[in-house]
Amino acid sequence: MAKGIKDKVVILGMGCSKFGERWDKEADNLMVEAYTEAIADAGIDTKQIDAAWLSTAIEEQHVGKSATPLAVALRLPFIPVTRVENYCASGTEAFRGAVYAVASGAADVALALGVEKLKDTGYGGLPQRGRGPLNDMVNPNASAPGSFAQLAAAYRAKHNVEPKDLKRAMAHISVKSHDNGSKNPKAHLRNKITIDTVLNAPTVAEPLGLYDCCGVSDGAACAIVATPEVAKSLGKKDLISIKALQVAVSNGLEAQHNSWDGSYFATTRVASKRAYQEAGIDKPREQLSLIEVHDCFSVTELVTMEDLHISPEGGAIKDVLDGFYDANGKVPCQIDGGLKCFGHPIGASGLRMIYEMYLQMHGRAGERQRAQEPVFGLTHNLGGFPQRNVAAISIVGKFGA
């Protein structure tokens, strides 16, 4: 195996806009909002950025194609800027581009910024759109909840779980994320809810109800990364470094080959294993301090606990109900509210997860700050559908840990 990127790159600064229904802001306003926080945090000047990556997934709803929207919004001085799109995992892909640029030595300082402006459709949920001529001829007119809801059907069948037991664990996940989001001033949804709120909500796609689904938000998040040497030369202390970046992409096996049973993410299982290896983590359940996962739907979060090899297979329901992943549990999951409540501006989400890790490790997470000092944090950013997706894992932590 390749040596990997552990401790080769550190985070110099991060920023994140408020997520939510930003009716009064264009995408470029959101980009600048995240960027001004990040550049001030980094303590550098725009001219010191050598290269930049922009992530956005549903660009036809806002900025259009190419990397020029980022270069124009930030007035980047004719540097290389690249736009990446990899479903909802786009944010981690932008981060990976910037980190790899620095790790390779091609850049000393690089920027990753993700943005999405989703609330200009006129209706709730993700935009309904064509997916290419052949796909539209054969694929169901599936919504995101409809695609992920199927995990529940397959998970119940595989583990012989009663629908109400699974639904209760899913409800616990959403209640926990609302509790966490209520303490996050940048979160889209800050209301607390109860188990009954979740169980009595209208059905979106069987068995997912309204409160099993994450918010669809406007927002942007930004990271500036550099070599440890550059960071030190700028006087930075308590560096947060990148321990691992792994992506696994479906190759049609899940959709076409009968070896996949529909109850888990084949990609996440592979990507997380590789990430642990790259980061030198062999007992994730003991070693991870915090996790931020792609909780687009409550059931996604539930099965992901197993796919990250933290809960045993078939054991996520118990861990969830035991509070293992609650803010005061052993491994808090979505301590910032997650996609569920912080919100899900697609291209920004992967970077938002890393932003939270960065704040927590610097002790800057305010009311939601984890008392126990975090050492390793994992982010899991997923794009696509259970049968065809992109799983992107990052592990960040104390430099040298």
Binding site: G122, Q128, M137, N141, A142, G146, S147, R156, S259, Q387
Partner: protein, 484 residues
């Protein structure tokens, strides 16, 4: 070699509108509807039309038979969805018939199917005659009450027919009892008494007489008299005039199905063949701008036929529909607020459709000749992770394979003309899987492991350009036809 009927089949849509629901809605306007408010009529799901029904009726007729010997396909209807596109061509591709098959759409008269059947029985070519009808009726019209949607198919050829032609006769007369022109969506119909007294009575009996004479038979020899007519007492009057016994008049399927227009002669023929015995004689009459009459004799081969679902099996595959609103919406007789998600324009990509016709229309996937893995769609590189061989996939037909639900949902967020949109992963019993739309399904009854069958359906209707695309969907597997 004797030309005759080798096989038959039918298709009737799942949903049956209770006629009472129509009368309950419109009785204030037309109290006469209350007198017709008995029984039920079949109506198409939103994703069905004459093409999809024709495919299903043909599949019913051809179940378990090789299709390579079929040299011609005749598709009869007065409610084809296109004015310029060969519907029999769509049916032929959906059935994976040989590309050299001769295809003709037969249209514009209620006797289109009987004329096509006479032509087929007069030809030496093995011919599939299929007829389907989905007639549009104005709300609160008697026609809405009496009509039904459905399709029937017969395979005609030599060999060992289960019914052979004894005699035939036709007459042409531009007797216009109803009509529908290019500019009009609905039929315009004249007075019933005139149709009976000036139409059926003078035109039909002489044609029957000539047909029987050609067969050297008499009216009393007829065991089953199949002649669709929605007007009261017409069939009895014709039978009497032709010397046919009253007990020979076959059930017009009014109470359970409704009149399926141009498809109804074949529908009645199939319903009779299902229970016919060797030696029985069937008189089939089609009426429309003249008349066709055919006298068929059932042969001992009828006993050897493996049973199709036919009319009987499809009548049993049924979902009572008490909501007239759903019927109105499916038939575009009411303007629903469909929401902004319904605005998505998926276009009409003709070149892509043609290039992908094996996948999309024929539902043909691949079978790796190196490792044997079945996969849908067929691709260049085998999906089996232990194989991944390049260029090793042979075409493999998936349409007739049974499948089971692996995962599912009932989606109330996405747009569907019949929410919730039910779809999921189905796994084929022989191997392979596909994420696909479900149809004709109760969302509440969905479960993993449920047996499914594939059906040819409308995938999308492009309202902006007037096009419709077809594809396959998974529906709960019908109970297999009982052995005779």
């Amino acid at each position: 070699m004797t030309q005759g009927i080798l096989a038959f089949g039918a298709y009737i849509p799942w949903r049956r509108l209770q006629r009472k629901a129509i009368a309950d809605t419109h009785g204030w306007f037309n109290p006469a509807l209350k007198g017709q408010a008995k029984g039920e009529r079949a109506f198409c799901n939103w994703d069905e039309d004459t093409v999809t029904m024709a495919v299903e009726a043909a599949r019913d007729a051809l179940a378990g038979r090789a299709r390579s010997s079929i040299g011609a396909l005749r598709f009869a209807s007065t409610t084809f969805p296109f004015l310029d596109r060969l519907h029999s061509g769509i049916v032929a591709e959906a059935l994976s018939l040989d590309a050299d098959v001769s295809t003709i759409d037969v249209a514009a008269t209620q006797r289109a199917a009987t004329s096509a059947l006479i032509e087929a029985l007069s030809s030496a070519t093995e011919t599939l005659v299929v007829s389907a009808e989905k007639r549009e009726a104005k709300a609160a019209s008697p026609f809405e009450m009496s009509s039904g949607d459905g399709a029937a198919a017969v395979l005609v050829g030599s060999g060992e027919p289960l019914a052979r032609l004894l005699g035939k006769a036709s007459r042409t007369a531009d007797f216009v009892d109803h009509f529908r022109s290019l500019d009009n969506r609905f039929d315009y119909q004249w007075e019933e008494r005139w149709i009976r007294d000036a139409g059926y009575m003078p035109i039909v009996p002489p044609v029957i007489e000539r047909c029987l004479a050609a067969a050297q038979a008499a009216g009393k020899d007829v065991t089953h008299f199949c002649m669709p007519a929605t007007l009261p007492r017409v069939t009895n009057a014709i039978a009497k005039a032709a010397g046919i016994e009253e007990k020979a008049i076959c059930d017009p399927l009014h109470a359970t199905l409704g009149d399926t227009g141009a498809a109804h002669p074949l529908m009645l023929l199939v319903s009779v063949l299902e229970k016919a015995k060797a030696g029985e004689k069937i008189l089939l009459v089609g009426f429309g701008q003249g008349a066709d009459a055919l006298l068929l004799e059932v042969t001992p081969a009828i006993g050897k036929l493996s049973k199709c679902l036919g009319v009987c099996g499809h009548l049993a595959r049924r979902k009572e529909e008490a909501s007239y609103g759903r019927y109105l919406a499916f038939n575009d007789l009411i303007q629903l607020e469909r929401g902004m998600r319904a605005e998505t324009d998926k276009g009409t990509p003709l070149s892509s459709m043609w290039r992908n016709r094996e996948t999309v229309t024929s539902f043909t996937g691949g079978k790796c000749r190196k490792c044997g893995t079945l996969q849908f769609p067929k691709t260049d590189i085998c999906v089996n992770p232990n194989c991944n061989a390049i260029g090793t996939q042979d075409p493999h037909a998936f349409a007739d394979q049974r499948a089971r639900v692996k995962s599912y949902t009932a989606d109330r967020l996405t747009y569907s003309p019949d929410p919730p949109a039910c779809y999921g992963m189905v796994e084929f019993e022989e191997g392979g899987r596909v994420m696909i739309d479900f149809t004709d399904i109760d969302a509440a009854a969905l479960q993993v492991g449920q047996p499914m069958q594939m059906m040819f359906r409308i995938k999308d209707i492009d309202q902006a350009r007037g096009f419709r695309r077809y594809y396959w969907k998974a529906a709960p597997a019908a109970a297999k036809a009982k052995e005779a």
